[in-house]
């Protein structure tokens, strides 16, 4: 059959028409990812079908929202590559309620949410009752999902349960670390550096490299120097809220960076590990920072720190890198430097940073039917395509794969990426135990009791937490030793 140009193009030169068509085809080919055409799966079991997927994520959390915002791109990709139509619905809940929402649904063996953005510490609680899909076999059959991560902690925190095993249950959705957001405009204001040097006999840190060498003692001087209530701002903003794990994450970072720990994951032992003099000192140190913070800092969680920093009421803020976009508002553009949080001096004079990791994995609902399980798998394969991860990074998410984080120019994509990359290998998670939330509740209660002055002895707060957590872990069979006799009748 001969194809003729339409009559209304009769006046167009044949060569011009052919050249134009070829150019359009070439442009289309370049514009769309090449593998879509080269790897189209003709025999996909869902080809021609329409699937509706549901994702459960974290409310008000940008990286979680990005996973949702980018899903229409997956729909296009799935149509082109696999030949099926997919649409997404979304549900969310704040950090404190998300596990509850997921668990109550999964406990009824519901496939209400096909893909869930879980917090890293929940892996044990979701995997133990077999609510989420074990991924070892899936990864073995789909090598493109066996990704090289930027640091081993990515696999440990977002994929592995129990700790130290090769069992994988999660795919990293976003990585996250604690970062220090600094008001560079205040740092660079005329006369400040000289005044700082005159007062503390040290140079004021000004660059990213200066902050890399900054110890907690020197940071405290900086916080004190910039505490100016008369001018409406204070030197620091840190988390002390009782909600979820808000006080625990920075406080455990203080403990771990000074050689402390919270438990032994192999034996489940807490007593003797958490309730140490070193950890008690870390608690005193963390509480002492309150005097450089705005009134009400004792209630600060993630959102409150965003508010005080964005409104110019804090010179520096300890915050998750994931909320960098919210911290650096249009009014703050160019005024903020994102640097590593301070290091802690070791006996040999070196600085150590062992901070708590943030971030969340994707987990797949074990009660999905075959079709939804297949789409969830296709979604994961799409999620880890280099171009998807790069797009995620450009929009402000925090990818974890080595290829994206090592790509040229990655550090400059977002103001916090250099720090995020630096902190990722210097961060670690705490328990992945199924009793996570019960242990956390006790810990939050005691830590805030000390921080707010309900009790005045940090050693007592730690002893209380250690006793209660030891009891919880012994009761669940994780710990071999029951709480010691000193725990009888212990209370805050």
């Amino acid at each position: 059959m001969t194809i003729r140009p339409p009559t209304d193009l009769a006046g167009v030169n044949r060569r011009t028409l052919l050249t134009g068509t070829a150019a359009l085809a070439a442009a289309a080919g370049l514009a769309y990812p090449r593998h879509v055409f080269s790897q189209t799966e003709k025999n996909h079991p869902l080809a021609g079908k329409s699937i509706r997927m549901a994702i459960l994520g974290i409310a008000g959390w940008l990286p979680s929202k990005l996973g949702v915002d980018m899903s229409p791109d997956f729909a296009k990709y799935a149509k082109a590559r696999y030949g099926y139509d997919v649409s997404f619905s979304f549900a969310d809940a704040p950090f404190g309620q998300l596990f509850q929402k997921a668990a109550t649904s999964l406990a009824t063996r519901s496939a209400e949410y096909n893909i869930i953005i879980s917090d890293s510490q929940w892996l044990g609680a979701l995997a133990t009752p077999k609510w989420i899909v074990p991924l070892n076999d899936i990864i073995a059959k789909n090598k493109e999902l066996d990704i090289e991560w930027f640091a081993p902690v990515v696999r440990q925190a977002y994929q592995t349960f129990p700790d130290g095993t090769a069992n994988r249950y999660g795919f990293p959705q976003e990585g996250d670390t604690i970062a220090l957001f600094i008001r560079k405009d205040l740092l660079d204001a005329p006369g400040e550096a000289d005044a700082f040097k005159a007062r503390y006999n040290m140079e004021m840190p000004k660059t990213w490299e200066d902050f890399e060498k900054l110890s907690i003692e020197d940071y405290t001087k900086l916080a004190e120097f910039f505490t100016r209530p008369d001018k409406g701002y204070h030197g620091a903003a840190m988390q002390y809220s009782r909600e979820y794990d808000f006080i625990s994450c920075p406080l455990l970072s203080f403990m771990r960076s000074q050689g402390g720990d919270v438990w032994d994951p192999k034996t489940g032992q807490v007593q003797g590990i958490l309730d140490t003099a070193s950890n008690a000192r870390a608690m005193e140190q963390y509480k002492a920072m309150l005097k450089y913070q705005p009134p009400g800092a004792i209630n600060y969680g993630i959102a409150e720190i965003v508010d005080v920093f964005a409104q110019g009421k804090a010179f520096s803020a300890w915050q998750w890198a994931a909320v960098g976009k919210a911290m650096i508002t249009p009014a703050m553009q160019g005024k903020v430097l994102v640097v590593p949080p301070p290091g802690f001096k070791q006996a040999d004079g070196s600085l150590k940073r062992d901070y708590i990791i943030g971030g969340q994995p994707w987990v797949l609902n074990a009660f999905n039917d075959d079709a939804h399980a297949r789409v969830a798998l296709d979604f994961m394969k799409w999620w880890y395509l280099p171009e998807t991860q790069m797009e995620f990074a450009k929009r402000g998410g925090n990818p974890c794969d080595k290829a994206t984080l090592s790509a040229e120019g990655f550090d400059d994509l977002q103001p916090w990426y250099r720090t995020y990359k630096y902190m990722l290998p210097r961060s670690s998670d705490f328990w992945h135990d199924p009793k996570y939330s019960e242990m956390l509740a006790v810990q939050q209660e005691a830590f805030t009791a000390y921080a707010t002055g309900q009790i005045n002895d940090p050693a007592h707060a730690l002893a209380y937490v250690a006793c209660k957590q030891q009891d919880i872990l012994f009761d669940s069979g994780t710990a071999s030793k029951q709480p010691s006799g000193a725990c009888a009748g212990i209370r805050l």
Partner: protein, 288 residues
Amino acid sequence: MLPGLLLIPVLAFFIVWNTIPTLWLLGLSFYRFSLTSGRAPIYAGLLNFQNILNDSGVWLDLSRTLLFVVSGVGIQTVLGVALGLLFWNSGRLPGRRVALTLLFAPMVLTPVASGTFWRLIYDPTFGVLNAMLRGVGLSGANFLGDSSTAFAAVLVVDVWMWTPFMVLMTMAALASVPKAELEAAEIDQLSWMQRMRLVLLHHGKYILMLGILLRTIDSFKTMDLIYNMTFGGPGTTTQLVAITLYRRAFEAFNMGWSSALAVILLLISIAFTATFIFVLHWRDKADA
């Protein structure tokens, strides 16, 4: 036959949504069962009850709850009666309807919403209360973050929210007083105190007692209002027993332990309800 049949829907509803879950709860309270353990429930007899009764934290939560109930309901009753008397016979007062509507507004708001905006009002950095205090030259306070003020701060919100209910009950009580007796008191030139004691309180006391009992039962269950303001903190300063129950049941998913605590709280609530029914019977007997 027909009246019996008409009862079936409501009975079915009651059995499905009330009786079966309560029996289930009672059964679960004798088991060790965590939703996230991946293990089947293990029969433990009275172990959960024993653990709760030996838990000093639970006793502290209960004592805090008792203090919250007694002080909250007490203040609400005094204020409610005072305001109710103020509005009594105020039919011709200009703006009465608007004033009453505004007065009752807190009661119809959801506790979660009330908790959220009171948290913002109390906020030491952005809150309007501290701004006002600073405006008159006083130093601000961290009402919800300071363990010496947090309990009082949440109590104030509970009083703000539920005093209107006691106003409503007082107005209902006053409306129940026969007009003839009021006129007789007027003719006999009884003093204000005598009129209060011999006429108003005599007729209105049952309705007032009902109000107090309903508020006591409701106050005992307070959870959402406080959880939204302080999460039970700072430390455990505002942790009422209902918050502990919520935490253990729906954050920690320790279903056996929390079922046992729920059974204990249910028994306490039944005690309140029994008192309430006793008061009603008392009224019936007195009226007879």
